[in-house]
């Protein structure tokens, strides 16, 4: 038998931070949206907001424009700071395509 041994070309990955912990429930929670304002986000995210408010009457859902919007701004440190300062329990990010 001929044996060929060669390198995996994909390069190692380094996990430096955990994903955010999940919520036990959405009851009474405060939820925000980070929107890139593209790919129909301006229609879909309000629909999600409306449904959250209907399904969880004691929930607080911030307005879609509570934080800076648009691809150029949503990845900025300042946006992350605003999210943190707003005291939300979770954010929904959309839309990617």
């Amino acid at each position: 038998m001929v044996k060929l041994e060669f390198h995996d070309p994909s390069g190692a990955l380094e996990i430096t931070q955990p994903h955010a912990a999940r919520l036990a429930s959405l009851k009474g929670k405060r939820i925000g949206f980070v929107s890139n304002e593209q790919w129909q986000a301006y229609r879909m995210l309000p629909m999600v907001k409306e449904m959250l408010e209907a399904d969880f009457p004691d929930i607080t859902v911030l307005p879609i424009d509570a934080y800076p919007q648009g691809n150029a701004l949503i990845g900025e440190e300042d946006t992350a700071r605003q999210v943190q300062m707003s005291g939300v329990d979770a954010v929904i990010v959309g839309n990617a395509a």
Partner: protein, 445 residues
């Protein structure tokens, strides 16, 4: 999205709800959001990452078969099924081959160049040598590849360039004596293929493999390049410095300030090429021939290429390649690099009415750069902020008929890097002469 999250150091998965792309188009039916709202709720509450730890160091893989041919087939099949191939045959990156390629590095194999976006794969000198080995490369090519990788990693917005639907590809301009030394083409057919000057194909293919395998730029998943732009080998070529007209400077000197004779790379992210038939067909004088050709080049450049807005201030709208024989003829009648750029800049301006008709101002308005937003007041609108942004390169075969316009795609900057060669470089070049035949002025035709 998985690339995007792993690129910032999270486990390579995320709580996502995905829909068919037609739901993201204007006027679409968005009711599927309503129907699947529970999945969004679950993403906030029940979702768990499937990746507990990092993938660890790159490992060795083994295939076995009764004959060498069959083992090679198995290796190539494995490259494809693991999503590491490009559809063309590859050379397995064996320890022996990778160690040979690594002779071209001045840096230790474990030296980290950076994390390749968007996936964030750790990119070491060895990672590059593995890709170059797979792409059929040689050790003397490695210094150029390493500099090109460094330049890409330094490029502003490189994570987006890797992932965008526009399908940009790195166009790597090499200056300095290394180009001829390693058989990198600057003449006829410089964008390949060329059996006498194969360096550009191997280096560019290796860079593409790194983009895909380490950076995660897989079609339709990690790179949303709608058309793909024939990106098998990117574009790696040399400027024909030997044939620059008197007084003209190499591209790397003009753009990056490197002293003439410095080995360097300069990277523009291009999205396509247009051939410009510039020569006259009748009894033009040299002056008419030059001017007619310049107008045709400007006409090709005068397009509402909105993808290039990010590079409007400091990047480039593209690379204009003119053949050495044309450059010399134009220089003889008084054209300079500066006057060519100024002509092209002035005459590629677009009337604002045309841009408004095409809905372009919306893209200006959402740009983060205030200078781009303010440029909407310019009428006609210049395709870049200043003439110097246009990359002008003297390269191509000794023939006067055509110029070549490589249109850029969102190149916010044009990064450059000096190429470092090992002390043993002369020996590597001698080995190449032994393996590939005659030296830097190779031509057997």
């Amino acid at each position: 999205m998985k690339n995007a999250v792993s690129g910032i150091g999270l486990a390579p998965d995320a709580a996502m709800v995905t829909f068919p792309v037609n739901m993201f188009l204007p006027g679409s039916d968005i009711n599927p959001v309503r129907e699947r709202i529970r999945e969004i709720y679950n993403g906030l509450t029940l979702w768990k990452s499937e990746f507990a730890q990092a993938s660890g160091a790159a490992k060795m893989i083994t295939v076995e078969a009764p004959t060498y041919e069959q083992a090679l087939d198995k290796a190539n099949n494995l490259y494809l099924t693991s999503l590491w191939g490009d559809g063309l045959p590859l050379r397995p990156a064996t320890k022996e081959r990778v160690d040979w390629v690594l002779q071209g590095s001045t840096l230790p194999r474990t030296h980290v160049l950076g994390k390749f976006p968007p996936r964030g794969g750790i990119t070491t000198v060895e990672t590059c040598a593995i890709a170059l080995a797979m792409a059929g490369g040689r050790p003397e090519y490695l210094p150029v590849l390493l500099a090109a990788v460094e330049a890409c990693l330094a490029a502003e917005g490189f994570d987006q360039l890797q992932a965008t639907s526009g399908g940009p590809f790195p166009a790597v301009i090499v200056n300095g004596p290394i180009a001829k030394q390693i058989r990198l083409n600057s003449g006829f057919g410089l964008l390949g293929p060329d059996p006498q000057r194969p360096a550009g194909a191997s280096i560019g293919r290796a860079l593409r493999l790194i983009q895909q395998n380490v950076g995660g730029a897989l079609p339709g998943v990690g790179t949303m390049a709608i058309f793909g732009a024939m990106r098998y080998t990117n574009a790696v070529f040399a400027e024909d410095e030997d044939n620059l007209p008197p007084g003209w400077q190499p591209h790397a000197t003009q753009r990056h300030g490197y002293a003439p004779g410095t080995n360097s790379v300069s990277v523009v992210f291009a999205s396509g090429v247009s051939n410009v038939r510039r020569r006259g067909a009748k009894k033009e004088t040299p002056e008419e021939d030059a001017l007619n050709g310049m107008w045709r080049m400007a006409d090709f450049m005068r397009t509402p290429n909105l993808a290039v807005l990010h590079g409007w201030e400091k990047g480039t709208p593209g690379i204009m390649m003119i053949a050495p024989i044309v450059a010399k003829q134009m220089a003889k009648i008084g054209w300079t690099q500066q006057s060519i750029r100024e002509f092209l800049w002035e005459n590629s301006k677009i009337p604002m009415a045309q841009l408004r008709r095409a809905g372009a101002p919306a893209w200006f308005e959402i740009d983060t750069n205030p200078k781009v937003r303010e440029s909407i007041a310019l009428d006609p609108w210049p395709i870049c902020m200043k003439p110097d942004n246009i990359v002008l390169v003297v390269a191509g075969g000794g023939h006067p008929t055509h110029s070549y316009w490589l249109q850029a795609h969102s190149s916010p900057t044009v990064p450059g890097r000096v190429i470092r060669v090992p002390e043993t470089f002369e020996r590597l070049l001698a080995d190449a002469d032994r393996d590939l035949g005659c030296g830097d002025d190779v031509c057997r035709i």
